[in-house]
Symmetry: C2
Subunit: 400 residues, 2 copies
């Protein structure tokens, strides 16, 4: 390794509202480390390495870095790319060519696999490259960590958005009493579950939460909606995009139409669930698909999430300089009455390609909501309570 090897950092996979905090944490810590020469950013993740597209992060102003902490999406650009075995050799070649001794990669499951493979390849070839993964995903599905940066902010957005849209539905009365909100998370329902965090009492929206982890039949959905309408006069449901029916089949209704590529057009999950409900209840549900807003709505950053993302970047650089490699910065929740976490190094081989789904004890018996244990787990992550809303006492004027 050169006497002051260069560091390179990249961002990968779906962006989040705080992913640039991890980046800025890396840069701030690297600026303080004498062992580090150049501080490089790779454009669009490992694609930027293969294409040798690096930018000089030492030239960014302090003001730009501070603003990036408020800025959603991946400032360096991101990538989704399945690497071929020969790519790992190429990556290590480029790192050697550019005197890179430290490789920090901010990403989810697939990215941690990349980090793992690169660290093994470097080791096999006797290259002194220290590789550290920094966790990132709104889906919260990385193994071996209490939670993932990005989740808390997305959870805060979802809790608030479902509460807001749910109150809209409440105020509509019989003119539109059913609302479905489609929430991201193809295999893990953490985010759909987070909609429950804005509830103050049982009657508040959302009344129903469906997760990929618990198959739900069309009959159950219809029964749940009917029972909720009977009880509260309106019904708001947080529906994960990844829910499956009792046969393990996705909710995707064939539309009969064929697109330009000859593929059959299918209605999405929320349209399909809406159609199932409408057919049985004879009320047309309204629905929201906030889609990419869930992972990018920076005005709803969780202060806890923002700070943890930032600190994980700093921790990653410290660990690399101290000699660690092939590890991910994981979050361990400490015991005690106050929420606190410690940053730990976890072996990547236990993380790469594993998936941490919502455990059974966080899902209610009926499979249409969450338990207190989930609320206790998730509440600290969204960074303080949402704004206190008002509700009229609404004392009736006697009839004349």
């Amino acid at each position: 390794m050169a006497s002051r090897p260069n560091l390179v950092v990249g961002q990968s996979g779906g962006p989040t509202a705080v992913i640039n905090n991890s980046l800025v944490g890396v840069i701030h810590q690297a600026l303080e480390e004498n062992a580090i020469g150049g501080i490089y950013g790779m454009l669009h993740g490992i694609a930027g390495v293969l294409n040798e597209e690096f930018v000089d992060l030492r030239q960014e102003s302090a003001e730009t870095l501070e603003r990036l902490r408020n800025t959603p999406a991946s400032a360096l650009g991101t990538v989704r790319r399945k690497l071929k075995p020969e790519d790992y050799d190429k990556l290590v070649d480029v790192f050697v060519k550019y005197d890179i001794g430290y490789f920090l990669y901010i990403g989810g499951n697939d990215s941690m696999d990349t980090v793992y493979q690169v660290s093994r390849m470097a080791e096999r070839r006797g290259v002194d490259l220290r590789v550290i993964g920094l966790p990132k995903t709104i889906d919260n599905d990385l193994a071996m960590t209490d939670h993932c940066p990005g989740f808390g902010s997305a959870a805060r957005f979802v809790a608030s958005a479902v509460r807001n849209s749910g109150l809209d539905t409440r105020s509509m009365g019989p003119d539109g009493p059913i609302k479905l909100v489609e929430i991201m998370g193809r295999n893990a329902g953490w985010l759909a579950a987070a909609a429950a965090l804005a509830k103050e009492d049982e009657s508040d929206p959302p009344h129903l939460i469906y997760l990929p982890e618990r198959p739900v039949s069309r009959e159950q959905i219809v029964d749940d909606v009917k029972a909720t309408l009977d009880r509260y006069g309106y019904c708001v449901a947080s529906v994960s995009e990844g829910i499956v029916d009792e046969n393990g089949e996705a909710y995707a209704m064939p539309s009969g139409k064929v697109d330009a590529f000859g593929h059959e057009v299918k209605l999405g999950v929320i349209e399909t669930v809406a159609s199932v409900v409408e057919e049985a209840v004879r009320i047309r549900p309204r629905f929201d698909k906030p889609a990419y807003m869930q992972r990018s709505f920076a005005e709803m950053q969780s202060q806890v999430d923002r700070e943890e993302a930032y600190q994980s970047g700093r921790e990653g650089v410290r660990a690399a300089v101290a000699g660690a490699s092939g590890k991910m910065i994981a979050f361990e929740r400490l015991a005690g009455p106050e929420y606190a976490i410690a940053y730990r190094l976890q072996d990547l081989d236990q993380i790469a390609n594993a998936e941490h789904v919502v455990p059974t004890e966080y899902i209610n018996a009926a499979g249409n909501g969450v338990t207190q244990a989930f609320l206790d787990y998730a509440r600290p992550l969204i960074g303080g309570p949402l704004a206190a809303y008002g509700k009229l006492a609404a004392r009736a004027i006697p009839r004349r």
Copy 2:
């Protein structure tokens, strides 16, 4: 009229993020007026009058009222109901029965028509009922007023949401370079246009804005998207739900499917536009449908909008006590370097059922964006700039 007649206030039509500010403005002013006896709220608008469902707003705590100012949706419940001619007689009957001398109604076009009809009926019958309309609509389509409470907050949400989701698209690079966002506004494109308010320079998202006021052909959409991709490498479009093609037809693609009621299922506007783009460009667009979040996302209240909604409620009560009836509280923008408005009484007959769409001078020549004149008009309404975001200078490291 009784010596201290009662006042009744109601909310109607689609809720907004600040509609409860209008309500609280009414209550606060009514509490200060000795001429007013009871302060009643009607549940679900005029449905609450016909059903004689009133609540006592004098019994609400100061804390509840303060919290309601942060709370989206209609605290009294709302209604969409086309009244029959005989209903107006019934409404006046109920007002007489409950000694109601002041009727304040917060709503949009249809509600202003209701207010107008009630005031005419009361006059015809010689009933001393003072009827005042308070404007409310995120669509900003009421005539005879500079703008409408509710629009500024929805515009702030839309500007921010499209910026955030657009930055997400930018960071995806070639892995997902086209984003379409469906924005509310069936006949008026004010809100879709507001997406432009977050742009700092030409290259920022959104690159394309399509409004119901300007028909746009499939060919133009495809050409616009291709040109934007060529220029910036990605393309973000704000698409009003009400756009029509060159034949005046809505963008709603038949899916070939028939629903439970025998109606043909049609793909919505954003799915249809996505399909048109995908077929020509061979890239599958991503899209967001924030739907009801646009009118309920109270965390994005515009401070200007919030305050104006509140003051319009106070103004309405003052006007009624001073003897006005059959009028709406309108906003007149005052000349001068600083944004300022005055509250004016406008005749309802000029407002009821009229519609104020985006004028030609606010739409660019190509019909795919807005002009500086629109930005100058709309910018003060969103209540101050959005958070400053950062962008990397991204100075390239020389290739080795």
